[in-house]
């Protein structure tokens, strides 16, 4: 009786608390604050483009709990493949996390060992980077093990090569591009039979004065002791719908994201492009980008394992949104390991420490910016203009909007307004272009006046000024100063002083 009484009291209090707290919970702020970098590289407030939706860790479901998820792949039908590395299996889920199938046999040749990467071709064939087995395992769409692509053998790989496939894609020709941990020469291009074709898209060692000087002045023995500078390691890759391969690089300050052309040349970055946070204040640390996903409009989203933030750039490399962060609350993460997105733009981020997958949804503001940005990227500035004006109504800190409206004005040949907007966006190059056109316009409109001005100026300089100067000279001369002093002029100057 007493028990029931306390219980009912307790439930009452809980209900009361909930009633009081619920509105707070509904309007609760996101654990991370929206911000963006302006063209002065200062971090300014912005509206979040992505907010935390929910998480899935597999507890209490048919699939069972996740253990160190290392990769996510979303296919064309929005089905989600998760490389559940700790459980040695690949999960196939629908977009509401209902289990469809499990890849990876309990025993036999189809048994996986720490699979860190997964890729699925259009016909549903599943390629698994079976990291600890040093192979790529291939499964049929129905879940049955088909075959393996063994470790590639080639003299080009070098004696110290250790094969540790962690991520992979398969291009339309059927070639595999494999990230092997610890390999600094780039991606391994492997044929379906497991023959090594070539390295692809490797990073280069950048020029360094210190290294050059060391090489000049060091003796043979010293040179042998200097650790050879290796190119940076590729951490992950992604193939977009057009077949471009995007890579992320671990370490380094610039160009950690690359879009590789079919011959392996970076087509995304011009010069040194900074990705991730600028360190305006606080301790300096370099980001560690571990995964990248690209949507059909070319929006590039990368995740940084140091800050556990995701950074989204449009096709031209403009930063659009930053979301996530390090922490325990929902919406923050501990060790981001993989990211991919469904066709509606929902982001799936795997957290390999918390053993779960977090989902982030776009906000209305995010969608607005995405629409505007897509038009802008295609060069349809006039159509994008109204959308960018709406972006500015929500958020006047969004420098890209000013720039985009400026471009629209420029295209509409309203150069004076374009100049104003470029000034607001602090883009001096474009401002100067608009100014040049504006100047042309002014010249054309006021041509007569400019002509008259030039003629008047010419007459002044040619006929009016010389007599004036002569008169002035004469007056100075008459007051006693020399007009043309020569050597031994001290006395004359003295005269001038007196005069």
């Amino acid at each position: 009786m007493r028990y029931a009484f306390t219980r009912s009291w307790r439930s009452f209090i809980v209900t009361l608390c909930l009633a009081v707290l619920m509105p707070v919970a509904v309007y609760a702020d996101s654990p991370y604050e929206g911000y963006i970098y302006n063209n002065l590289e200062e971090d300014v407030h912005s509206i979040n483009g992505y907010l935390y939706l929910d998480s899935w860790d597999g507890f209490g479901t048919e699939a069972g709990p996740l253990n160190a998820p290392e990769d996510i792949f979303v296919d064309a039908n929005d089905r989600i493949y998760v490389a559940d590395a700790g459980n040695n299996r690949i999960l196939l889920l629908d977009d509401e996390f209902e289990l469809i199938r499990i890849y990876g046999d309990a025993d036999g040749p189809g048994k996986l060992n720490n699979p860190k990467g997964v890729f699925v071709t259009e016909d549903g064939t599943v390629y698994v980077a079976d990291t600890n087995n040093k192979r790529v395992a291939v499964f049929n769409a129905d879940g049955s093990y088909e075959r393996e692509i063994p470790e590639p053998k080639s003299s080009l790989l070098g004696d110290n090569f250790v094969y540790s496939p962690s991520k992979l894609i398969v291009d339309k020709r059927g070639y595999l591009f494999v990230v092997s941990n610890g390999t600094t020469n780039g991606l391994l291009q492997i044929s379906q039979n497991g023959e090594f074709e070539s390295f692809f898209g490797g990073n280069r060692v950048s020029f360094n004065w210190t290294r050059l000087l060391l090489r000049w002045f060091a003796s043979e023995e010293q040179r042998a002791q200097i650790v050879a500078e290796r190119p940076l390691e590729i951490s992950n890759l992604y193939q977009d719908t057009e077949g471009f391969i995007y890579t992320t690089t671990l370490g380094g300050q610039y160009n950690q994201v690359k879009r590789l052309s079919p011959v392996g040349v970076d087509t995304l970055n011009q010069g040194n492009v900074w990705y991730g946070d600028y360190y305006v204040s606080g301790p300096f640390s370099l980001p560690a980008f571990v995964d990248v996903t690209v949507d059909r409009n070319g929006l590039i989203t990368i995740i940084d394992q140091n800050s556990n933030k995701a950074f989204q750039y449009n096709k031209l490399g403009y930063l659009l949104f930053i979301f996530g962060g390090t922490g325990e609350q929902n919406g923050l993460m501990k060790t981001v390991s993989a990211i991919d997105q469904t066709s509606d733009g929902t982001m799936y981020i795997a957290d390999s420490s918390r053993n779960r997958i977090d989902r982030f949804r776009t906000t209305p503001f995010g969608e607005l910016v995405h629409r505007a940005s897509a038009l802008y990227v295609e060069g349809r500035y006039e159509e994008a203009e109204e959308l960018w004006r709406e972006v500015l109504r929500y958020n006047s800190n969004y420098d890209m909007a000013y720039h985009a409206i400026g471009k629209a004005m420029y295209k509409a040949e309203r150069y004076e307004e374009a100049m104003q907007y470029f000034k607001l966006a602090r883009t001096r190059g474009d401002y100067s272009q608009a100014f040049k056109e504006y100047r042309k316009e002014l010249m054309r409109e006021h041509f007569e006046w400019i002509l008259v001005g030039v003629v008047v100026l010419f007459i002044l300089i040619r006929y009016v000024l010389p007599p004036l100067v002569r008169k002035l000279r004469a007056r100075i001369g008459s007051s006693g100063t020399n007009s043309r002093p020569h050597a031994g002029n001290q006395a004359i100057v003295k005269e001038g002083e007196a005069g």
């Binding site: 001096r428 272009q433 040049k436 100063t481 020569h486 001290q490 100057v493 001038g496």
Partner: protein
């Protein structure tokens, strides 16, 4: 009026100007101060009238004090260093002449920087080379006047002039270095005294 005439002369006949400057009573402290203030004003006006596309700094990054310091400190340290070096190495120039002569060497800058900067309002960034050409002509002119000043005031030949100029520059850097160290030490010392007094006042 006299200063104006001398400014015109340093532009047209720099050699003769510096000969004349050695006559007693020609070099005046007031001229030097006036010219430096003019140089500062010219600098500030040129910053103000720079076209938007050519601005490399945001307005809040520009400080009156720093612009002033960047004119005054090189001028004074050059004068002191040049005087010291040339006195040791048989130069004839007097300190006052060097100070005033250095100030007059800035005349091309004072006269031409504002009109040249006004060009940035009609040029676009593609045509920046025109602006840069004029600016480097001004700089070259100023440097030339400094060299002529060293040669004429101290009555050196060309080789020695270059040698003295290099020594003067080295001397300037040594001066700056010493001042920097002195500043650090004095700052430490003053802090020490202040802390000592604070400590004593807390204890009593």
């Amino acid at each position: 009026m006299n200063t104006l005439r001398m400014m015109g002369k340093v532009l047209r006949h720099p050699n003769e100007f510096y000969y004349d400057l050695q006559a007693p009573g020609v070099a005046r402290w007031s001229h030097a101060i006036l010219l430096i203030i003019l140089a500062f004003i010219a600098r500030m006006i040129s910053i103000l009238v720079t076209g938007y596309a050519f601005e490399t700094r945001e307005p809040y990054e520009i400080s009156f004090l720093f612009e002033f310091v960047w004119i005054v400190v090189p001028w004074i340290s050059w004068s002191i260093s040049n005087w010291a070096v040339s006195t040791i190495l048989d130069g004839e120039g007097k300190f006052k002449e060097i100070v005033v002569g250095s100030a007059y060497a800035l005349v091309p800058y004072i006269v031409f920087v504002v009109p040249v900067t006004l060009l940035t309002n009609v040029l676009s960034l593609d045509e920046a080379s025109t602006y840069r050409l004029f600016m480097s002509i001004i700089q070259f002119w100023v440097i030339l006047l400094f060299l002529i000043k060293v040669r004429v005031l101290h009555d050196f030949e060309i080789g020695k002039m270059i040698w003295i100029t290099i020594l003067t520059l080295i001397g300037m850097f040594i001066m700056w270095f010493v001042c920097f160290i002195l500043y650090g030490l004095i700052d430490e010392f003053v802090n020490f005294i202040i802390n000592l007094f604070k400590e004593i006042s807390f204890r009593t």
